[in-house]
């Protein structure tokens, strides 16, 4: 456990000392905070006359029975941004984890590190947690700002209706971190196999594609986010994360990494 903690501290001290990486890590949560809050600000003047006479079934499904059409529409819109907050835990770890192994290869610091009595499990767990933890923290910050924005720009009732819904809590506190771990594991696997940090980053970005598909499917009305879907997503991610971590440890061949990095 001590060695895992040492790796985490080392990663944070080293990686966050790199301004480019730090900016990338801060930029993503900032963008995904500004976009939804900005949209709420721009649409704050909308009135019920701008809306169709009847809302789609998926929108009505999200609202309390006492809600007006306008309130229901606002709750629907507020919920639409949930997936957006899942991009931060997917994107941020890509930069951190992709840099994690291949960055050490590039600076030749990996060989002395591998020569210490650290197991592959300890090394990858340390690197995994170091890359996976900052993103959910950034996401929670974004959600808090978004919730405050919703309270101020949309209304207290709508904000309470949205953010008291367990689906949001599961999405933010369970699915978000699990996505972050997924992204980290995938990036670590890629990072162990390539020689350039940028190549690792670009290849690792593939992990975002499934969420993009889900996002556009939701926007197109093909998928409706509800409690069951989010729970299913969480359970699936637990299994996928465990499998990917197992694969990452198996694929991390010290010999291959040391002898093919030039």
């Amino acid at each position: 456990m001590q060695k895992i903690k040492t790796i985490i501290r080392k990663e944070w001290a080293d990686v966050f000392g790199n301004r480019l990486v730090l900016l990338t890590v801060l930029f993503i949560p900032l963008v995904f905070t500004v976009i939804p809050v900005g949209l709420l600000f721009l649409t704050r003047g909308a009135s019920a006359t701008d809306l169709p006479s009847e809302l789609p079934a998926q929108a009505r499904h999200l609202c309390p029975e006492s809600a007006t059409i306008m309130e229901c529409f606002q709750i629907y819109v507020l919920n639409q941004f949930m997936l957006l907050f899942m991009f931060t835990p997917l994107i941020v770890p890509v930069t951190l984890a992709a840099y994690s192994i291949v960055g050490e290869k590039a600076t030749h610091s990996l060989e002395p590190l591998l020569a210490t009595p650290i197991t592959t499990f300890e090394l990858l767990m340390g690197k995994n947690l170091a890359a996976a933890v900052p993103a959910p923290v950034g996401t929670w910050f974004s959600v808090v700002v978004y919730a405050l924005g919703a309270r101020l720009l949309v209304g207290k009732a709508q904000a309470i209706a949205v953010f008291s819904e367990p689906m949001w809590w599961i999405a933010v506190f369970v699915v978000g971190p699990l996505l972050s771990v997924l992204s980290t594991n995938f990036s670590l696997m890629v990072s162990s196999r390539v020689n350039e940090p940028h190549v690792a980053e670009q290849l690792s970005a593939v992990v975002i594609l499934p969420l993009l598909v889900l996002f556009f499917a939701q926007v197109a009305g093909l998928v409706i986010l509800n409690r069951s879907l989010i729970l299913l997503l969480a359970v699936t991610l637990v299994a996928v994360d465990a499998l990917l971590f197992y694969l990452a440890v198996r694929l991390f061949q010290r010999e291959t990494i040391l002898t093919r990095w030039r």
């Binding site: 040492t6 001290a13 600076t107 610091s109 002395p112 591998l114 020569a115 210490t116 009595p117 010290r254």
Partner: protein, 302 residues
């Protein structure tokens, strides 16, 4: 302390190290000489449990390579070819990380000890990136020693250092050997190997020869003694060549170059003869072959 038997490493069809049989005793400084690609670093990586041998066995500090790799890593120190420091972190932070990974109990004490010993204590808070090459190498050396390993593997410790920094690092290595640590040193620097190593192994995929630097010279080359005279001529050379123990004698620029097996035994007799023939003997010395001659001879032959 280090024992290998037919240790072999292949990368696909390429043989990097072949049938290496080696015995390095406790407290010995053993030098590995060899051209680029000779298998020095590969051997070092096998012996530190970083890569697995294709076949053969090796035991380091009582632990078998491939079976007790974690204990090997725990009990040896390694200085890699490039320092591989965390450049954005301070010297002290770099060492603290490794002290923790090497399970050092008194982290602060050990870090201070080696930072002071290597003259880096005053600059401990500076990022490693600000250090000169020599300072980085010293910091990497400190990193290898934090857990007080009895066996040290040093891969090109003075490569790319200026003469002054190289001298400091060499002195430090000499000090470590006086503490009784076993050191396996890979180097291209023949003078360094000559000065530091008790024995030298010349490697070119296979181990071509192992011995002390002096015996490597004497085993490969005949011993030659130079007699400096006020005036040397062919007649004197012919007279010396006539002695039964002299293998060869030539006169060059008022010097007689005499080849013989046992100079210690036969030099006095030659001197008596030369004086008897009226030669003005100025001084006598052995023509010492450099380790470079030995190395080049072995590598060409090998």
């Amino acid at each position: 302390m280090i024992h290998t038997e037919n240790l072999t490493k292949k990368f696909g069809d390429v043989v990097a190290v072949e049938d290496l049989n080696l015995e390095v005793c406790e407290g010995e400084v053993f030098g590995f000489l060899g051209p680029n690609g000779a298998g020095k670093t590969t051997t070092l990586r096998m012996l530190t449990g970083l890569i697995a041998p294709t076949h053969g066995t090796a035991v380091v500090n009582g632990y078998r390579v491939g079976q007790d790799d974690m204990n090997i890593r725990r009990s040896v120190g390694i200085l890699t070819e490039t320092p591989g420091l965390y450049e954005r972190l301070s010297a002290e932070h770099n060492l603290r990380i490794y002290a923790s990974l090497y399970e050092v109990e008194d982290i602060a004490g050990q870090v201070e000890k080696y930072l002071r010993m290597l003259g880096l204590w005053e600059r401990r808070h500076e990022a490693a990136a600000k250090f000169s090459k020599g300072m980085k190498q010293k910091l990497a050396m400190a990193r290898a020693l934090l857990h007080e390993p009895r066996v040290l593997f040093l891969d090109e410790p003075t490569a790319s250092l200026d003469p002054e920094a190289a001298h400091l690092v060499r002195e430090f290595i000499a000090g470590l050997s006086q503490e009784g640590r076993t050191i396996l040193l890979c180097t291209h620097n023949l003078d360094e190997a000559d000065r530091l190593c008790d024995r030298i192994g010349v490697l070119k995929t296979r181990l071509l020869m192992v011995d002390t630097p002096d015996r490597l010279r004497s085993n490969l080359f005949e011993r030659k003694v130079v007699f400096h005279l006020r005036q040397a001529d062919a007649a004197l050379a012919e007279a010396v060549a006539g002695l039964p123990f002299v293998q060869d004698c030539t006169a060059v620029d008022n010097k007689l170059l005499v080849t013989l097996d046992d100079p210690e035994m036969h030099n006095p007799e030659i001197i008596r003869m030369l004086v008897g023939l009226g030669a003005d003997l100025q001084f006598v010395g052995e023509l010492r072959r450099s380790l470079e001659d030995v190395y080049l001879h072995l590598v060409k032959e090998g």
